[in-house]
Amino acid sequence: MEAGQGVPLVHFHGAGGLRLTPAHELLSSRFRVVAFEMPGFGDSPENKRTQTMPELASTMGWAINKLGIDTFNLMGTSFGGKTALWLALQSPQNVHALVLEAPAAIRQPGAASPAGTPEEIARLLYAHPERLGSIPPPDPAVRAKTQPLVQRLRGPDRDADLEARLQELPTPTLVLFGTLDRVIAPAMGRVYKDLLPSCHLVFVYDAGHAIGTDRPEAFAEVVADFLERREAFVISRTETVIHP
């Protein structure tokens, strides 16, 4: 899925598969947003070939290259956050900046993928599911197909190999957690901050695991500002003139 013009912003979805959110649309007003459906998710055939997250990352790197995109911003959501980190580690020269939305690369002990009835899953993903209107429930057949892949690739809660490599990753990185994330403990954010040489941690108030769905404007504003200015995004440009 692709929309918008400008510097490419490649997005890797979470374990539930590609779901477009209002945040995609907001970001597409400033970037060429390319949201991939990764092999084995959605309507694609079951993926029995990919065995590890680094393998998935290099497949995705190949797919990006096939689109003629050389350098790009990279955003990963939850499970896709780990894919994004591996791709940045494999090709740091191609990735301008990295955005990790509630990344699942570093998890609290025993963290589980959202499961249960559609209502239970919605309560895990969103801060206030009752406010969101109708969200299409996950297709049980698709879930059955993707679960083995997700379980195979998600790796341990703490991946020592990955964490050691993150300390050498120079890419400017923005890590976002919703304050009401019920899947990955927002406290995991500090581990990225500790490990990555150039990392900014932002908590999005009153958002759950799916930040881009719960608070799309708040999410898209800080993401776009970071992608445009990277580290200098800490300098406010907000104008406070009430009357000239």
């Binding site: 406070t240 009357h243 000239p244």
Partner: protein, 358 residues
């Protein structure tokens, strides 16, 4: 010459600290912090005993270098524990504050401190724009408007509204009003043309800091010229100069220590942020552009044994015109308290009595 002791709260970190600003708060040591505030009081009791006129505090955030993010809290704590010395709050960072709240808190403090408050109002250093998300491009005009609103809140006897550019209130009527009338001695702090003009227009004092005598002297000269434009003449007491002083028993010893001073500030913003900040944070000395200080160590204006320092103070009076010196008396950059206490004693006994008449 009056003297003020710039109290920064000496936080003695038990471990090495990262060099980047902001400093992660997770490495704060509670025991070292609590001890630092108690040591501060002991030190200030000595400062008072030595005859200093003021103790000053300032607003800095997100690092242990100066452990007073809310100077009003420090000032209130000091005012309650010391009985004679004046408390100079130099000062709240106006552009990122609610000016009405600043006016209220300073008025409270002036009453609680029995009229011992001295107030300085300022824009703040470059990095402080990041602490409360202040747009640096607006900092100057928010400072000017905020300072004017603070003065108005202190002096207007009727409830009033404020239809500003950056601040808007329908009703303001502060209680208490300051004990000192019309308000505590107040300084606009900074070398900029705007700050000097504001001070002159409102009959306030002018506070300059850290530059050489010649560079801050350009600002104070401009301030005096502006005062003349507004039809009044400031006294020496209207000009305060904050500076580092490296005082030792002999010139040689002071020079030895001077050579060992670090050339970089202890905590600085990341290079990419410094660069972006320098591009948007316009500063000037009496109208002449200067870059913001984002990495270099602050200069040390006074270096030497007592005789030399007394002469330097004399020269400072001639060039800068300051009647109040606000001094950092430790070797800047050091977190040791013992050398600071030795310099304090030396200053109190060998320098202070000789500069009173300057």
């Amino acid at each position: 010459m009056k003297v003020s002791f710039f109290e920064t709260v000496r936080y003695r970190a038990p471990q090495a600290l990262p060099s980047e600003w902001p400093v992660p708060s997770g490495i704060y040591d509670r025991d070292a912090g609590a001890r630092a505030y108690e040591d501060m009081i002991q030190r200030l009791e000595y400062v008072e005993e030595l005859g200093f006129d003021w103790v000053s505090v300032s607003e800095h955030h997100y690092s242990p270098r100066i452990l007073t993010p809310s100077p009003i809290v420090s000032a209130a704590f000091i005012a309650a524990r010391l009985k004679r010395i004046k408390i100079a709050l130099l000062g709240p960072i106006v552009p990122q504050s609610n000016p009405v709240r600043v006016a209220e808190e300073l008025a409270m403090l002036d009453n609680m401190a029995q009229g011992r408050l001295v107030a300085g109002l300022l824009r703040g250093t470059s990095n402080e724009s990041l602490t409360y998300d202040l747009n640096p491009a607006e900092a100057r005009e928010r400072t000017d408007e905020g300072m004017e609103l603070i003065l108005k809140a202190w002096t207007e006897p009727q409830p009033f509204g404020w239809q500003g550019r950056h601040f808007k209130y329908r009703t303001i009527s502060i209680w208490p009003r300051p004990l000192q009338q019309p308000h505590p001695p107040t300084f606009a702090l900074g070398t900029s043309r705007e700050s000097c003009e504001f001070a002159a227009r409102h009959h306030l004092g002018c506070g300059v800091s850290y530059g050489s005598f010649e560079s801050v002297g350009r600002a104070t000269k401009y301030y005096r010229e502006q005062c003349a434009q507004y039809g009044w003449q400031p006294t020496a007491d209207h000009i305060v100069y904050r500076a580092n002083m490296l005082l030792a028993d002999t010139d040689e010893e002071a020079q030895d220590q001077f050579k060992k001073l670090p050339t970089q500030a202890p905590f600085s913003m990341r290079p990419a942020v410094r660069e972006a900040m320098t591009a948007v944070d316009a500063r000037n000395i009496a109208g002449e552009a200067r870059p913001p200080i984002t990495i270099g160590a602050l200069p040390t204006a006074f270096v030497g044994g007592p005789d030399t320092v007394v002469e330097q103070v004399r020269r400072c009076k001639e060039v800068v015109g300051a009647g109040v010196l606000d001094l950092s008396l430790h070797p800047p950059g050091s977190r040791d308290v013992e050398p600071l206490m030795r310099s304090l004693e030396l200053f109190g006994k060998k320098v202070l009595p000789r500069i009173r008449e300057i």
